[in-house]
Symmetry: C2
């Protein structure tokens, strides 16, 4: 069955969407069948790839649309399920439903056999919607910018993951930590990476360097591999994909 990764950190701007898009594209290039789901009401996956879709995750969760009717085939081996602002209203609606925690999981499970990997890009929060995502996932990709406040945020993410296991009966663990915005010249970045490697060992993947091509790619509606295949950004995301293709420990 499919591996389902929640791409999460409630700290904003750590590179979750950039990681989701480029890792999904990289896995698809390695002939894995990939579904990229946007669970953030900002809808940055669609904005970054220039994808338009009549139905989004909101229609799946709130109006009972089938995922198969809402996905957009982007490349060979890569389908995208977009989101939009309506998803922000899902949070209040989820609060009122009894079996709310398992809503997304039921939909993800119904398509899991068609994919090898499913990546779910999360918005910067620890909302009910993101708890729903955690309940639908088999492991978590924690994306951490190499700076102090992002590092502080990791403790909260780990607590949330533990709570989902304890209170919602869905044991889930960190599959990998992706350090981003790394600049070897800055001591603050070296210290942050040190601390992540000490804490997570092999689960801490090689860092993605700060690279202006990664900032440019969304404005061109391209992945980093299309926009700047020879850049540090492309090189570093291929290393992340390599690490995820090797046997990933899922405790």
């Amino acid at each position: 069955p499919a591996r389902v990764f929640a791409v999460l950190n409630q700290k904003g701007g750590t590179g979750k969407t950039t990681t989701s898009i480029n890792v999904a594209a990289g896995l698809a290039e390695r002939h894995r069948r990939v579904l990229l789901v946007d669970a953030d009401p900002q809808g940055n996956v669609a904005a970054s790839l220039g994808v338009r879709s009549k139905k989004s995750l909101y229609d799946v969760l709130m109006n009972g649309a089938a995922i198969a009717d809402a996905v957009v085939p982007l490349f060979e081996n890569l389908d995208v399920l977009t989101s939009d602002e309506r998803l922000a209203a899902a949070e209040i609606k989820l609060a009122q439903r009894p079996k709310r925690a398992g809503l997304l999981k039921r939909h993800i499970d119904s398509v899991a056999s068609q994919y090898d990997d499913i990546l779910i890009d999360c918005g910067p929060s620890l909302s009910l919607l993101n708890q729903n995502v955690l309940c639908a996932s088999t492991s978590v990709l924690v994306v951490v910018a190499c700076d102090y406040l992002s590092l502080v945020g990791v403790k909260q993410v780990l607590r949330t993951i533990k709570n989902v296991g304890a209170h919602l009966g869905h044991p889930i663990s960190v599959g990998a930590v992706v350090p981003t915005m790394y600049d070897a010249r800055a001591r603050i970045c070296r210290d942050a990476l040190d601390s992540l490697q000490k804490h997570f060992g092999d689960k801490c993947l090689p860092p993605v360097r700060h690279n202006v091509r990664l900032k440019e790619a969304p404005s061109k509606k391209k992945t980093i591999f299309e926009h700047a295949p020879g850049s540090h950004g492309a090189e570093d995301y291929l290393a992340v994909v390599d690490a995820l293709c090797a046997p990933v420990t899922e405790e």
Copy 2:
């Protein structure tokens, strides 16, 4: 009465907390009496300044504590009202209260006479909590990183501001736009700044340059003025403070 600024952008990592802290400190140095409120469950204001407090915004909103009992005096002319992860639960609780939109405003109005400026650091979302903040504010400081996805997010922020005026009967406008993470060498940054200046005219303040000292300051629990007074970061935030001390247009 006090000017109340909501420091907002639902896009994550644009520099809202960095701006809130350093603008609050800069205004206090100019002898304005300032209250800095953290309305983000991440609690990054307290984490960045090393402030510990028994009571936080959660106690004020949910347990009826008075703001005066929860604030921590940080420097001369600067008080801080911190937040913590309990605030995440306030979202669901707010959804169940009838007069929820005006809850924070009632508390802010009760202390407004003691301050010249109140800055409220918002988390990266368009939640009920942030609508509460907008209802308590006299204008909005929109903090936008000079990149494509942040620019895309500004449209959503403007729509939200318009909705608060229309649906919650609290007309509020953009007081100023603060461009951050600016790197003049990168075309994507120059284009982003151009577009902000074209759209917002005088309300678009001079940009805050990308500066590693700003990344370091939170790890030292200092403002940029204490950590690196001669840095670009300190210079640029003083320019923002200057612009805010000049007569600000509040339509």
